[in-house]
Each structure stands twice: as C-alpha cells, then as structure tokens.
Assembly symmetry: D3
C-alpha cells in the first residue's frame, strides 16, 4: 500500500479535521512520495478580479468530498499513488518577481525527487515560475493548456509579468518545446484580431472554442495527445476554461464554455501522456456559489492524480 | 373538476399567501384526493453537509412559480388530479429510528387511501421509512432511483442507518423487488472499486453515469421502464443526480452530472410506469444560489404529478 | 476609426473608471454614432420577482470585461461601429403608462437619427414602449423573440399592461408585422393548454423549447431568419430564455433552458437580418450569483453589436 | 385558553410545516380572534430597491423561531391572545390604486370584528390604505411612526402615491389626528433643509435621530406615549428605523440607526397605548443576510402582539 | 520561548498554508503543551438550523487573522503559552450517544496531561460530553455560561439529549458544582414563564439579558467571577449570546444581544478565574456573511487563551 | 448655485443612470470645482484579502442613495459645494511603485487647482502616494487617521511598500508634520507588544480603541482637533475602524469596533479642521453583505464633503 494516504472516512467523517487536500497527510518529506499537492496562493498577477490567493484553501476545503477510487476512470487513485499535501509556498504578496523566486525554490526539491507536483493557484502568472522550475529539471517541456484565454500578451500597462503574458514569456525563456505545445478552448472577446496569432507565431498549436466544439471531447484529447507526444509535458488548467455556470468563482470569466462532464471526458482522454507537473489555477472563492467551483477544481486535481496513475503504470509497463 | 386545486394566479398573484406547494390547499383529508405533497424535514442521516430539513420549505417557496398546465408534456396537471399539501411529518431531529416510526405513521393513512404521496426531503435516509410504509401497503415494490450515489453502503462509522445505506437496508428488509429495481446516474469517486457491486449483488440493476451518457435520455428512460415493469414502483430522485451547476444546494454534490433539460426528458420518458409513491430528496437551501435548486426540485415534483396523470388515465384506459 | 470607442485597457485597467457599457463614452449626441446602449430601469411590470431596475447597472458593471474584437464571430466590433452609452431613460417607478411615454420620448431622437438602440431592461413590459417608438420610425416591424414565455396574455389581475401582455398589446396596436414575427424557446408550465395558441392566433410563429430542441441552434437561427425576412426587425432577448444555471438572476426563471454556448450559436446564426433595434431584458441582479447573469447579458448585447456590424457591412455591400 | 395558538414545538419541531406566522393557524374567520397577522405583499410604491413583496413570506419563515412566552416583557403572548394568520391580501402588482382598494377591502372585516391587525409589508405605501381602513372604523387615529424617513413628500416624479408620500396623504385625507401623531428616528440626507418642516406643518411631532439620541429609549417611548394619548392609535414600524448592520434587508437603508436591543426597549416602553392596528414594513429579503432582518421583523411583530396583551388586560381592567 | 507557536507572518503571509487555528502546529502530543485547540464538529443535537459541524473549519479559517500579542489585554499570548491545534474529534454524525463517547475519549488524554482544551463546536449538546470528561479529571466544576438560552430543558420531542438540555443533564449527572455556576444573557421568547426557573431550581445563578443590561460588562464579569469563585471552572460561550448583527452565522439566533466590544469587555473582566476548559459553540458558517461570525469566534477563542495566560501567571505567582 | 451638482431625483429616480458618486457630473475639469471624488482602485498592497480595487465602483453604486442636504449636520452639501466625480486613476495592477507614480500624477492638477480631493480606495497603501502629492502642494501636513491598525510596520516579507507600512514611510519621507498627527482606534491582536510604540516613536499621537472607549465620540473628535491644529490636514479613514457587523466588506477586519452612529458623531466633531484632502479606503465589495459597507463608505465621503462645507464657510468667515 502507498505510504501516504487519506484518512479513512469510515473512521472519521469527511467534515472532520484540518483541511489538507483530500485529508492527505501534511508532510514536506520527499521520501516515498509519488505526487504532492502544493498551494501557490499568489494573485498579484491578475488584471481584473483579485482574490485567487484563497484558491488553495478553498480547493482543499472542497476536496474532503473526494474518495479513494475514481469510479469513472476505473482507477484506485489513493491505492496506487503515495500522495502528500505539501502546504503552500510562502509567496510575497504584491511582488511578482520575489514570488517567482520563492515558487522556484519551493518546487525544486519536489521536482528533483521525481515527485509529480499538482500546483493549486493562485492566478495564472504562477505558471511561469512553475515552468522555470520544471524546465530546470526536465528541459523544455510540452504543454497542454486548457483555458479560455491564450495568456500570450506581450506587455500589459507597461509590464511584462502578469497572468496574461505567462506563455509568451515561457516560450521566450525557452522553457517550452513549442512544437509540443497546444492551447485549447480560447473564447470570448479579444483585444485584437491577431491575438491568437501571437501564440501561433510562438509555435503553439491553438484550438479556439469554436473549433474545439466541432469535435467530441475525446477527439480533442486525442489531438492534444498527438501534439504533446511522448516527452515530458506540463498540464495547465485554468478554471475559466469551464463555463461560468459551472465555475463562477474565477477572475476573468468568459461565457460559452464547456460543462463539468466535458471537462472530465477531456481529462480522461489524456491518459498516457507523460505529464511531469500540473496546475489548476484562477479559482477565486469570493465569487463562488455553493462551493461548486472549488469542488470542480478539486475533482480536476483528482483527475490529474488519476492521469498520473496511468502514467505510472504505463512507465512500469514499458520497463 | 378536481376537488383540490391551486389558487388562481389571475386573482391572486403568485407571490401572495402562505407557501404551500404550488399554492395548493393545506388539508389533511384523504377524501377526494389523488395525490398529495408531504414534507419530511429530516437531515440527521447525512454524512457531510446538514440542512436538508429546510428542503420542504424551500421547495414550497419556489413551487409558487408552477402553473396548472405542463406544456412540455402536454398535460393539464391540476385540471386532472386533485392534489393537496399535507404539510410536514413532525420528525424527531437527531434521532433516526424515532423519525422512521413517525414517517411510517404519517404515510400510512395516505397510502391506505390509495393516494399517491410525493415526499419532499430531507436527506436520503428517509426513503427507507417511506419504503417500509409503501411495502406495507403494496408489498415489495420496484424502484427507479436517480442519484449520483448508489446509497448501498453496509455500515458507516459503526451505524447501519444513514443516507448512504438506505437501499441496502431496503433490500435486506424485503421492501423491494430487486429484480424490478434500477439505479441510474452513479458517478464521482467511491470508497472502493467494488462499491457498485454491492448494489448489483443485492439484485439491483445499476447504470453509472458513464454508461448512461452513451444513451439519449429517452433511451435511458426506456431501459428503466423495462426494468421496473408493470408492478407498483417507487421513484426516488436525489437532486445530486443533477450537476452542481444546476443544483448547487445539496449535501454531497458530484461534478459531471446532467442538465435540467436532461432531467425533464428522462422523467417524461417514464410515462406509463405504475408509480405508487415518489420522493425528491437532498435539497439543501443554505447552499443554493438564486433558488435554482429549489425551483428545479419543485419542477421535478411537478413532473411526478404529471407522470401520475398518465398513470391515472392509463389505468382508466385499461378498464 | 469609429468616433466613439471604449477606453484602451492597456492604458487603463478594465476595473478602472465610471461604469458605462464596455467603458464606452457616456454622451447623448446623435452625431457620428452607429449604435447606442441605453438603459431602461423599469420593473413595475413584473408579476413575480421585482428588482430588474438594477439590471442596466449590473450589465454595465459586468460589461467592462468585454474587449473590442469578437473572436468567435471574427468581427472587430468597436473597430467597426461607433458606439456610445446613452445612460438610462428616467422612468417613473410604479407607473407603467407614464414610463411608457418617457421611454418613447427617450428613444425617438436615437431612432430618428438612424442609430441602432440596444436597450438594457428592466422587465419585459418595456418592450411595448420600445416597439411603439420603433414602429413610429419604421412602421410595423418583424420580431425575433427569444424567451421562455410568450408574453401574450390578455389581462392580468384586471390590467392590460405588464410584462406578460407585451406582445399581445404590440400586435393589437399594429406595431408588428406578425407575418414576420417568431417567438422561440417557450417552456415551463403555462396557465392553460391554449396559452401558445393566443400568440399563434395573433399571427406569430411560435417554436416551443421542445420543438426547438429537435434542431441545432444554427437551424433554429435559419428558421428565424427566414421568418423575419429582409424587412426591419426587432430582436428581443429575455434572459430567462437561458437555463437558471446560466442565468439565475432573473424574475420568472424556468428550468430546462439552453446553455450560454447555445445562445452564442443562435445569435451568431442571425447574421444578415435587418435589425433596427434590440433589447435584453429581465436581468435581476439581486438573484444573480458571481455576476454570471449580468456577464452573459453583457455578452448578448455585444453579440447584438456584432450582428449590427454585419448588417452595416451588408447594407454597404448592397449599395 | 385562547382559541387559536401556535403548534407545540415539543411535538413538532419548529422547522416543520407550512410557514404561517409563528406556526399559527391559517384561517380567515373573525370569530374568537383577538389579533391577526396579515401580509400585504405590495412593493410597487418604492423609489429605490424593489422586492418587499417577498417580505411577508420571509417574516413568516423567520417567525417559526418565536416561542409563546415573551420573557423580556414578562408576558405569555400566545397564552393570552387568540391569534391567527390571515394569509396575504391579493394586491395588484404594478397598480397602486387598485391595490389600495384591495387592501381596504381586505382589512375591513377584520377591523369591523374588533380584531387587531398586524400587517406585514410590503413597502410603506401600503400604510395609506391601511389607515383608510382604520379611519373608516375608528375615525382619525393617533400615530406612532418609527422610521428613518418622514415619508411626507408631496409628489415624486409627478405622482402623489408612493412610499415617500404616505403620511402627507394620510394627513390630507383626514385619516390621522395629527395632534396625536409622532414620527421618530428620521436621519440620513434629505432633499431639502425644509424636509422635516413639511411633516411638522401637517401637525406631526417629529423627533429626528439626533434628537432621539439625547434620550434613553425609555424616555423616547414616554414622549411618544404622551403624544399619542389614550385615543385609538396606529403603530407603523419601518424596518429602516434600525441600522443596516441589524437590518440590511430593506429598500432605502440609512446608516447611523439604532440596535435591535434599542428597538426592543422602545417598543416595550409603549405599553398601555391604545393601539388598534400595527404594521412592520420595508423588509426586503433579497438584500438580507442570514435572515437577520426577517428575524428582527418577526420579533417586532411579536412585540406588537405583546403590546396588545397589555392593552387587552388594560381594557379589561378599566371595565 | 514556548515550544509550539504560530508560523511567523513576516516570513509566510497569513493566507498561506493549511488552516490550523492561528496557524499553530497540528500535532497531537501532550508534551510541552499549555493549551490546545480541538474541534468537535457535531451538530446532530440541534433543534433548528443544522450545519455547525463546519464550525471548527470556519473558525480555523478566520483565525489566521490572529496575531501573537493581545494589545487590548496587554498579553503576549503566543509568547506565553505553548499552544497546539489537535485537529477534530471524529464524532459519529447522526448519533449523539456514540459521539459523546468519542468526545470523552478524545478529551481525556488532554485533560489528564493538564492541558487546557479550547473546544470549537459544534452545537451546544457537545458541552455535556466535555463536562463529563472535565468532571472525571477535576470533579464537579464551576460554570460561566454565556448564551441567549439557558439550555436547561428536560426533554425535547421525547428525547433527553440535544443542545437544549445540556445543562440540566450536566447538573443531574453531578458534573457541575451548581453553587459555582452562572448563566448570563438569556433572552428571546421562551416556551414557558417558568423556563428560567428550571435552571434556578437546579442551583444555577441565571442573569437574563434584561438584568445584565443594567450593569456594565465589567460589573457583569465581576458578578460572574464572584459566583464561580476560585475552584476549577468551565467557560462555555454560545455565539448566539451576541446579537445576530455581529454573529448571523448561528442556529437559533435571538435579537437584542450584545456587541463584539461588549463581548471583549466581558471576557477580559474574567481574568483570574481558574478556568480548566473552554468551549465556543454554535458557529454555523452557512448562515455567516463575510466571515464575521467565524472571526468573532476566533477572537473569543483567542481571549480564552489570553485568560489562560493570566491564570498561568497567577498560578505561578501563587507558588 | 454651485456649478456642478447631482441629478435631481425628482426628475430622474436615483437608480437611473451611469453610476458616478451621488450622480454628480463625471468631468475632469478643474474650473469652478470645490471638491472632487476620485477613485484609486489599487489593491496590490494588501497582506490579506484582495479585491479593494472594486471599492470605488461599489461606493459609487451605493452613493446614489445620498441626497443634497445633510440633515444630521444641518448643511446643504450640494447647495454649498461644486463637486465633480473625476473617475478613477488608472493604476498599474500588480506594481505598487508604478501605481504610486500614476496616483501622484493624477492628483497633482486637482491639488494645484486648490480642489479638495476625496479619494476612494483601494487599499491603504495608496495613502502614501496621496500624501506625496499633498505634501508637494502643501508641505508636511497634519493627519487624522481613523483605523483599527496603525499601519506603521517597517518591512513586510522583505518589502517596504504595502498597506501596513504607509504611515512609517510617510513620516520618514517627511510628508507629515508628526506633531500634528493622530491615529485613533487601533485594536485587535498585533505582532508585538511594541507595535504601537513604532508609531509613537515616529512622533504620532496614537489612541487605541480601549483608550478611545473611555471618551464620548465628541471628546475623541475634540482631542483629534486639538492635535491637528489649524494647519493643512489629511483625513484618512480606513473602513475597518468600524466593527465588522457594520462593515463586513473589508480586507483585514478586527472585532470590537465602533458603530455607524459613532462614526457619524466622530466625523461631525471634526468641524473646523483645515482638511486639504481625504480618503476612505479598504472597502472590499466581495465580502460585503447587502451593500452595507459601501453605503457606510459613501456616507463617510459625504460627511467629508460636509466637513468641507464648514471649512469653506470658515475660510470665508476669516476673510
């Protein structure tokens, strides 16, 4: 049995105890750990609503509803993986570059130990720091990016770091193998007709919502899997990929998004990808209703763990 | 014309008056009544969020938006059936077995008079008491159970009665003809890979969400109708069958559920089944937003009445 | 470049400044203006929940998230049209006929100048006054009416003016060319089996939700476009056309409605229609959650502007 | 024992059953009744936020927390008085004069039978119709009016009936013996320096908040009692008399108001006044939080019943 | 320096990390600990609103705003005491007697080690189990009970255990030295004129709200201190002691309560009492607004720790 | 009559129109203006909850309830002063030093023209930039600072600029004449026993909440007036000075604060002070309930205008 597992809900009801992700042990060890949940409560990078610094706490709070076996995927998640909750990286509120350093420092030992981090945002600016840490360990990685925005602006009000410039910066810094990168789900008004071209010119594949809608979610997953190939890959999920009806608690919502069921189908279709790190970002509890956004985010993190079960058995299988 | 009908909204606006279901008369007679709405405000059986004791009040509050004619189904509901609101059964908060007795006592005269009860929960533990009352009148019944959970655990924290054990208990007590029982829509993480097998081993048909999604809702209804056959049948609808975007106000939500439109299609597809009792459970107003969960639950109860119109005309037709 | 455009978000973040629609200039000129947003904060006409008087403010508040280019439609909205925010018409709360006069007076100069008004409600009773103003300028117009209700009652509690009688009155007053009118999406319980016949007897085409669901949204749009033909047409969008999960903030919600994505598809399918005026009504912020209803309404108004871009280039093309 | 009493909470928990005021019988008889609760769900008269039509339902909902004995006042309320819930008067939404007629018609049999009505608003415009009914029965009455506004405007946007003109109209119509009228608690910005003079010129005593604050609440009550004397008197309580911290759910809140404890002291100080009718108005549930406004309003109605216990024993004593 | 202290907010912002009380270490040791926070998430004992099972989590969430030094009291709380967060006792939802056993088992090692427990409820029924544990260690104790209710009913719907019978049971079981017990703040309607006599007949001093209001809070504290004397004493704080404006998030609110400032004054006045255990109960987050109830509860727990600093220095002083 | 005044509510109801402060003209002129409202929607400086960037919009939204005459103070505010709404300063989200520059640039022309700015925050970090602009115009100024925190930290997580260091920085930069500075109302836990000494060592007078409570609000105002003397003075009001019951919508609330009535008394007591600029900060709408915080903030700004009426008539009197 895995070393680290959730508390047994048949002994202690799920509403009991300190809120770690899925009631996993809060430990900072890198021994006997397959994957770890880590919060990055930073929201200084936002251009509209702030408050995603409370995202990790909200996701943990909702995550106590998770149970060990992923019935939809047919995977015994916590019977397969040893998972911990590493707490939060102590970012510096109001200072993005200081925080980038702390994020990189915080992720390094986890990545060095071969542990898969599942980062809970925080706004999407944190992904740049995550990718710096990941690239330091794995070199330029592939990217599956699910979002309503491409986040590939160049500058915003004279500044190059914020949640709208993340992937342009990452590409420029050589953190991504753009030939293995895909952005899926872009929708909503943009500032310019050429907005998506910026990403494409960086080498990303970009599939806007309208194009995505012409496929089933399984097909979309297949396209993404082909694009990212077999190399080490990062999965970045911005909760605003989902429609505001399903995820009201976010900072820059866009109407016309997918349902929670479509999300599950898409994520489950990514089985077999060699993911080395994940994040789920832009959960903003102050605009949530009935905890539905946080619960969806917790389930997305859980599907990420599920993907990791496949990756792990896959890697074993290949041996 | 039916003896008991709602107040005419062209004389008295719908926001006027004491909140009975659909502004039906609050009477406790069993004379000249075809169906009755009855609240069971019990939530001691929950394992996560409590508060469904306010479910009946919230559903009544939202139900004043209902009007007499079901345009989608083409049925003059309140022109066909004489319906009353019987108020609530005075359960014993904090004591499940005492409450079970009171529920059984409360339902007996209704069932004995051949009136169809539509029970407003309350958490799903109440269904066991309802089934005891129903089986006393009709013998073991068939079951159409729409839910995200199978509610077939054996024990929970050492106790056999709560909202997660209802259908295992009901089967064990011989209240159900399991060969005519079907559970539809199960999804979300489970405690164990074998969770659904428990229900199947009891004799239930169980169609998880993933399997259900491969059919249209009309087909799902057809499958359910075949399963329950022509004998007396109970329809139990847990509001968490629906996605949290449509029904945030519930105790143990699971992402990836159906829409309100799919619910209507599924329920309308159950025409002709010989339903003898209904419940709609797990509405928890404190987590609702904009009354949408309560409104959906009120409409589900209204569709149950609609089904009863068909059953009634069907029975007449057979004569 | 158009004379009136939004503030540039790269100079001034979108959360800055006085809330006009999309941060457009608040001016009341009729010179060099193609279209204008105008609020009509009237809700005395409602039969259930009141509060839509705060609809225009809520839509403006959410609309600052809009950006100039409609990526889904491929149209540079604010690069094509000169658009202003005309503020609100100062209606008389509590007095529907006084308010009707003020609405007509308020819209006249806009319509006379050939400017396309996009009216933000307010409850659906305002559409009668809008149609009076429009018919005065254009004669009887066609109508594309998206709603869960037909709003074609004759009288309500003894009175002929309210949000449930709008389209019967409009037809009777000769404001509509009913042979070019279509109502789409009706659903929910009605007072009578013959409710929809009233509208049909007035000459409207009426496509209930159940019938609409048998088509794709593109087909529905095609049907509507054929019906309204090439003459001047009014587009009236009641936010309760959408499901309460997507639009909880409204006065008389009905379950079983469409998604935000279906709305976008339907509206985009109406390209080429000769719309001369628009409204989006029944947004009730006090029941909204996380601003999702207001955001959807803002996007609907934005799609209306987008349709106008097509109409404008179409008209040019025809010259 | 009184003929009509609440359901016993030791037999049926307070959250059970159809929501009548304090779970009193919903009957419309005038036999063996001392006082009755009656809702007037009218809000067309408001000048700012609408939605008080849901006030009666919200107050009833919160009132189930009331118990029979008023410990603070030392009075066995429901052991002394026979009280019923008469439901709501079916007003005509959107039409103030029609509604005034219906209110008058609805109150007449109650007043004629010598029953004390406690009216649940609804906005403050309803008080004019109530006073018409009361004056018809008792002649011009005294008035104790607790409010943050004097409600003595002459016209508003060209119209003479709305919630800001109530007491000017009542005085003009001769419904009040202004020499026995007092308005207490006025505060907040006004339109004009002379605003309070209007009321004073009508003959009212008017004690603004600043003046009131120089007295204890017991002294304020004493002043009011002296003013209204021993003749038949109406007590009108606008919930915005209380600070928004204690009563957020209202239409035109003003900061700087009193606490709930000060309210209780003031009301209890009015013992012995010959009240013949009461209202508690302007409760707007959509802006309430945690039901605190509705609960306070329910307690105010309960204190009104308590005052009636004193009046009743006083009258008996005088015989 | 104390062994266990909160995380330094100048290194890690207060919104970072897993939510323990005041970001104290979550450890279960009894070594080098002066006081410990322990959650008891049980709400099966309620007679009205349920949901206080989420009280401990909500209080922890708000408690991260606490800082080490109590400036108002002039005490360096976390520089004086070694404090831990012991997590929650895994109660059995739905089963009060099972839960009582678990509570007693959970508190025993803490009490045996001479550690002061500060229990976070949960509903007020838990105090009976706490008192059983405390009396087992210290014998019958004194009681300072701040509440709007006396919680001294005999039976409720036929059952002897729930949140309304706690102190009657405790007295009957001999857990209290009633000559050293005082209940303060009772208000709101009661079921009977004799309700408070029940408590007095048990030997409690009982000071209702009306009597309390005749004193300053310092005087009230002085009266309570005299009553409880120098023996071991339990302090039980029901959050509904405070007015709903300050503490909306609770199960059975009563209007007319004290302010947060009055609470602080009262608690600070209790310096020197020999408290051996504390609880703060009935926090119900689903009815809270803006976290104000939870924040107040966190501060109350913090004042309890502050009292313990005095008790400790007092005890030292006595040596 | 003043050049710029609010829209007349008797012509256009207060819920009509684009939300400027009190429905004043949105113009950026410096001609014929006595005072101006200006938003500074910056919240990057916060150490706990973010979101005060929406403060100015929320205050404007609530401010439409204001009317021209301040009845409590006996001042015809908008009949005395010509007031405009200058919109918001376009700060740079995420970058405090860039934003400081923009704030200074934005305020300069206003101050140079002798107009009194009333700044709507935003978090308390903005006050440093405001003071830089003010000192540039007037030299070092006096300060009346109402707050629950002293905001005089030296560094926070290694950085010198944020909402907790404002007044230390201001003193160090020589923007304040500390001999004329007073901080009032400090309460809540601090990081250190010496926290308040930091401010005192800078030369500030500091009156904590406990000390303040020993005086009436009129006396507190008198003390403050004496301290600031007759020189040019800045009034900075942090909404968390008020208790969370009255102002839940803020970022770092502290229990035990004053009421709205006490706020009015205190502000009105500051008559005659030579205020040259004002701000009201830390309004965070996402945590507000029923708009009560925003309404209170709007009234505070209105009292600031009222103070300016006195200052103006005073200055005139001196001529």
């Amino acid at each position: 049995m895995p070393r680290y597992q959730p508390i047994d809900a048949f002994q202690s009801p799920r509403f009991c105890g300190v809120r770690t992700f899925a009631r996993l042990p809060f430990v900072t060890t890198t021994q006997e750990v397959d994957a770890t949940i880590i919060g990055i409560p930073f929201d200084t990078g936002v251009t509209y609503r702030a408050g995603a610094r409370f995202g990790p706490a909200a996701i943990r709070d909702a995550s106590v509803l998770l149970r060990p076996y992923n019935a939809g995927a047919g995977v015994d998640v916590f019977g397969t993986l040893s998972v911990t909750d590493s707490g939060d990286i102590p970012i510096v509120p109001g200072y993005i570059e200081d925080s980038y350093e702390r994020i990189q420092v915080g992720l390094k030992p986890i990545l060095d130990a071969g542990i898969i981090p599942i980062c809970l945002g925080g706004d999407h600016s944190i992904t740049l720091a995550e990718l710096r840490a990941v690239a330091q360990r794995y070199g330029p990685v592939g990217l599956a990016h699910l979002d309503s925005h491409s986040d590939s602006w160049d500058v915003y009000v004279g500044r190059i770091y914020n949640h709208g410039t993340t992937f342009k910066r990452a590409a420029e810094e050589g953190l991504l193998d753009t030939s293995r990168c895909i952005q899926v789900g872009m929708r909503g008004p943009t500032f310019d007709a050429a907005d998506y071209d910026v990403a494409r010119n960086l080498g990303f594949a970009l599939m806007p919502n309208d194009e995505m809608r012409r496929h089933s979610m399984t097909e979309v997953a297949e396209i993404a899997r082909k694009r990212v190939g077999s190399g080490p890959t990062f999965l970045s999920f911005d909760i605003d990929f989902v429609d505001p009806a399903y995820a009201p608690g976010t900072g820059t919502p866009e109407v016309g998004g997918v349902t929670s069921w479509e999300v599950l189908q898409l994520l489950r279709g990514l089985r077999g990808v060699n993911f080395v790190a994940f994040d789920i970002v832009e959960v903003l509890p102050a605009y949530d209703s009935g905890q539905i956004t946080a619960l969806l985010a917790a389930n997305i993190a859980y599907e990420m763990l599920t993907l990791q079960c496949f990756a792990r058995s896959g890697r074993k299988a290949q041996v």
